[in-house]
Symmetry: C2
DNA sequence: GCCCAGGAGGAAAGCGCTTTCCAGGCAGCG
DNA sequence: CGCTGCCTGGAAAGCGCTTTCCTCCTGGGC
């Protein structure tokens, strides 16, 4: 077990100074005679030389590393975002550091510290922001400091401290799903939430509530079920839903993973979807299409979201201005999991 | 925009040498008087000091970075593995570098070079190995060199060059799925493959063939459909399957993603599953459970696979011996997507 | 034939750390 | 009181690069 060859080894083998080696291996504009360049190159491949990105990063002050914080890469939503991010990162010579936070404030903070230690050039927050004040204070300090050091930061959700954001309009997206249910004639609409204290969850819940109230319905806390964004969280929510009396005729989940979980569990309990209960979600993950019945949901360009986020990061890295807030369009996709409630006609026919 | 504080700044603020700062911030065993330590610590937090992992890595020769090469993180199988890997990496102070290869030899090689440049401590191959000789030659050189430099390498599939592997027995796993179909009475069993030139694909295809032949059936190349491990690849395979005459009564897909795609497309074409055609997969991703009808598949402890792989890597990193080959158990999970073929009784009843 | 510009290569500083080797101080011991 | 040895702390070398000066050399213009 030895050590990788260093620039010094190559220099000696090619009988030049390390300066010259650096010039031919790197991006320097200083000219090198073709013959010399050739000699260096040959020596390099002969020795199996690979320039240390660490040493280079140390002096150039850029690592070409970007950290991506996702709630859970196992959720098809985040998986898709990750692909978008990575593809465009790779195309631009960046490497991505994967950080699953499970939306835990402490894990997220921990990762942020680590990313700072590694001097990541950029950070992408793929999920919602925690609202816990202690966390926020810590986050603000970290973010402020990192920015001063030139770290680019972008979020794919609403984020404080002026962090540039790109994402859908949660309020509108949630609203249009609720309205769809309302138009079908539903009056008792349950909501499977996410973790309280996460911006995205709060926004969607608030939108659910306000659309309901705008329709003249009373907001009933009993109808909001705890969830955790996962398939199994959706299943658990289904159990709770079944215990509510009178039973809701529709349910909107904060994301498709929970929606699918809920839908499947409901079916297992013998309920017919959508005949007895309608189910809708948000995100339009692939499973939304192939679950039975196919899920009505709000479609979001997942991969694109990741790609655009990364592109913004790149822009920031290049010192260009990053638009503070870019809204990506969404659209309601009505499939077969929603229908008018039992013995009721759609509102539009009233 | 400034520069992060360096160890030097802290030393000056605490009025000690950088040696002392290093000793209190790092893992040194050299003792430091409590009072001094306290001073250093205070100065560090006051200045918002974060030790540069890069500089540290440069001198200690370990980066605490591990690269994970996956086919496609969007496939729930790889997503699960990734979680297993990351959780145990984080628990041990390692950071994971995400590398989606799409099973392209050149992308994989490119990533390997990059990982070498970054001096990643370890590399985990999560998917199968390419069999292209040009690729293999290049890979061997790279792997050999990296090992000499102390890089730990582990694969979650069969890999050459003595790379330690942990994974299921592809031959047995595929075999038991085929046998299940055979026992139900199927005689025309199609196979949705992966990319030719990938070890896992070849192994599973070979197993499919040999079990068929062992049962006295002729191996018919017409029945092996091209696939690409994806949901949409499965859908395309369904179209091809429909064009085969006489139509196969069952199909086994190389992985669940394609199986689900095929199953859904078949349904869309009006076929009843499993009444008219049985579908089976391998891996047991969550979707296998909730697709309708639920997919018969070979269950693999996905998350565990990732975790164990990472644990092996850790062992290698610690200089301990890594078992050259560890087989993880799998098990056939019979769900509702498989049944006896139309107008035929199960073989066991003959 | 001489001078100057520009092309090509090198020396050395420095990026932010760890680690080895050393030195000073002080307590304990004879 | 002198010596030994432990306890703390520091100096300096070096990890593998990039980059800023410099120097040297060559060719072209006059």
């Amino acid at each position: 077990m030895s050590t990788p060859r260093s620039i010094y080894d190559v220099a000696r083998a090619a009988d030049v100074s390390i300066t010259t080696v650096s010039r031919v291996m790197g991006t320097s504009t200083h000219r090198v005679r073709p013959a010399t360049r050739e000699r260096v190159l040959r020596a390099a491949v002969e020795l199996g030389y690979s320039p240390s990105a660490l040493a280079r990063a140390l002096v150039t002050r850029q690592t070409r590393l970007v950290g991506v914080l996702v709630g859970d890469a196992t959720d098809p939503y985040f998986a898709g975002i990750l692909r978008g991010v990575e593809d465009t990162a790779r195309a631009n010579g960046y490497l991505v550091l994967l950080c699953n936070t499970d939306r835990e404030a402490d894990v997220e903070l921990r990762y942020l510290h680590v990313l700072r230690d590694y001097r990541a050039d950029g950070i992408l927050f793929a999920g919602g922001c925690q609202t816990d004040p202690v966390y926020l204070r810590e986050l603000e300090g970290l973010v402020t400091r990192m920015r001063e050091h030139g770290t680019a930061i972008v979020a794919l959700a609403r984020y404080p401290f002026g962090i540039p954001e790109v994402g859908i309009d949660n309020t509108a997206a949630t609203g249009c799903a609720v309205e769809h249910l309302l138009e079908l004639g539903h009056r008792r609409i349950a909501f499977i939430g996410g973790r309280p204290g996460v911006s995205t969850s709060e926004e969607r819940l608030a939108a659910y509530r306000s659309v309901l109230e705008a329709a003249g319905l009373r907001y009933d806390p009993v109808l909001v079920l705890p969830g955790d964004y996962t398939y199994s969280g959706g299943r658990r929510a289904a159990d709770l839903l079944l215990a509510i009396s009178p039973r809701p005729t529709a349910v909107l989940a904060i994301n498709d993973a929970s929606a699918v979980g809920c839908l499947v569990a409901l079916k297992e309990h013998g309920l017919r979807v959508p005949a007895e209960v309608s189910v809708a979600g948000i995100n339009d993950i692939p499973a939304a299409y192939y679950v039975e019945p196919a899920l009505t949901t709000v479609s979001v360009p997942i991969y694109e979201l990741g790609a655009i986020g990364m592109r913004h990061l790149l822009r920031g890295l290049a010192g260009e201005a990053v638009p503070p807030s870019r809204r990506i369009e969404h659209s309601l996709v009505v499939r077969r999991s929603t229908a008018p409630p039992p013995r009721a006609r759609p509102r539009s026919r009233l």
